[in-house]
Symmetry: C2
Subunit: 333 residues, 2 copies
């Protein structure tokens, strides 16, 4: 997949294919983010929900339901559920990260306050919960309850693993599953479940979403060191400043000599950061080739995602899901 | 009901009657607050869960299931669910209130940090969600999803209604339903639902829990102005300092003369508070008799709670629920 901006991107193709359903999802989201009593809720929610995100997660639910031949309306409920859970976690993340920018705009906790971000996040989570209850499917509720627990556990793990140079790739993978892959795999799985797909297909949908989510997050962590703030809307070096151990640094720490180790220990473990440290860190990542290694790791997960698609029906959406997996890594030049 | 400390209190009678079930709830809570990957989770949770709270909400679920003749095990799941939701909201409340003390001990956000309080709260909410899914009852999930939404909406409403002298008793009641009564009424209702009680009983259980919760919160708001910090574990005047409009102040504002109104406007709306303001506020509440009025309002809700019990089976637990309603107001001397 090239980076020709004129070509239609896979998520845009998918959005076009699912246009009517996506419109229904947007209508449902707007209806359910309303609050009779507390206008602050739709204000804060709209700031995020209408910030021009790609709506990737709800699209995955609609796409997988379509792929498995679903012809009811609950895919729309589940897609809105997934978007609400995602938005709720973003609101809470921004409080946790003390972040000032998201998708190129000021975060809700800056525009309003931490309190609003915490409570509106809780409200959206409750609204998501109501939407899934409406489907009447205990299996769907089970999947999303488990995903919610994995997400929160991953976030806490990240909090405690941060600043600890002993963080292994295994712990990193658990964090990544929590912060990203768990909702991707729940989104793809519930699409199949609501369609009544056979277990082998539901399993394949889980594997696809899991691998896609992991690839997506690894690329995100890579972009934190080599992205373009204008394109990604992220501040380059945020993870370094927040002393988060992501794959490029974990790999660099593993092969560090004594003076390099002291550098990582000072900047990440002890949090003593000075002018020029980010540039020095970037130099170490390049010298040890860990940015390239990280990109290779992301490509490996993309391959696993595409392999899982082999167990699913031949359908136009299957090709789009495959292209989407390629596109996730194409974000990194 | 007298305040003789030697007499067994109603919640203690109830705890004795439900001792075996409560032990099962405690075991389940300990098992489910564990986290394989993130030890921070049980640390933060234990700080709250084992702080010697009365476990009133889970007891209400066990008691109402018992009252309606339930003989299965899911009442234990639902009681643990209710306690987890309660603990999650306490963790998030402390972030929101920037509170330093809860149940006479430092709050989790002081001992750890706001991040841990937000994320561990999210984790407990997800664990609660898993527990209720295990009961397999969509009706129970529906009740608790709606309660969760009402709780979060009430908290946001409180945030925006705070500092606004135009807050009416009606808005106050909505906030109270959100912050307290919604979980009480869900706790009592699901006990009946899991027992397969007829709709008239489920409705009566809702009404009892709703009225009990409202009485409980009104008394709590009263104690904030006339409580004993050693007995309640609360800092007297917290609501005043946080510029929250609770019933005693709403009533005092309604009858304020020009200079009193200017006092409330300065201290609550504009947040300019000086030495001696709390004492002056207390004087105004006493002069206008709004503390007594507030106590009368709580007693009125207690009467409604007891009236609802008339629709429920004659059973030892019914008497305990009635005594509990009386006891809620007996906390105020």
């Amino acid at each position: 997949m090239g980076l020709d901006e004129a070509a239609t991107k896979p998520h845009e193709q998918m959005a076009a294919h699912l246009a009517a359903k996506m419109e229904a999802v947007n209508t449902l989201i707007r209806a359910r983010m309303a609050s009779r009593h507390a206008p602050r809720i739709p204000q804060v929610t709209a700031h995020l929900v209408e910030a021009g995100g790609k709506r990737l997660r709800p699209m995955l639910t609609l796409a997988t339901a379509d792929l498995c031949g679903y012809d009811g309306d609950f895919d729309v409920h589940l897609a809105a559920t997934v978007e609400f859970i995602h938005t709720a976690t973003l609101l809470h993340d921004d409080v946790v990260d003390e972040s000032g920018q998201r998708r190129g705009r000021p975060t809700a906790n800056l525009l309003w306050d931490n309190k609003s971000s915490v409570l509106v996040g809780d409200y959206l989570f409750a609204r998501a919960f109501q939407l899934m209850v409406e489907t009447g499917s205990i299996r769907v509720l089970d999947i999303l309850a488990n995903a919610s627990a994995t997400i929160a556990e991953g976030e806490v793990l990240q909090l405690t693993a941060a600043q600890d140079l002993a963080t292994t790739e295994e712990i990193y993978l658990q964090v990544v599953r929590g912060k990203t892959a768990a909702l991707f795999s729940a989104a793809t799985q519930v699409g199949g479940v609501i369609a009544g797909a056979p277990e082998t297909q539901v399993k394949a949908l889980f594997d696809y979403g899991d691998a896609l989510g992991i690839a997506f997050q690894i690329v995100d962590d890579l972009l934190d060191y080599q992205g373009d703030a204008r394109a990604t809307g992220k501040n380059v070096g945020d993870d370094f400043r927040e002393r988060k151990l992501t794959l490029p640094v974990i790999r660099a720490v593993a092969v560090a000599n004594a003076s390099e180790r002291e550098f990582w220990s000072r900047t990440i473990e002890r949090g003593v950061q000075r002018e020029g440290d980010l540039e020095h860190a970037l130099g170490l990542l390049k010298d040890h080739g860990t940015l390239d290694q990280t990109r290779a790791e992301a490509l490996d997960w993309v391959a696993r995602a595409k392999a899982a698609l082999g167990h699913l029906p031949n359908h136009p959406v299957r090709r789009m899901l495959s292209d989407l997996a390629d596109y996730v890594v194409a974000r990194v030049n």
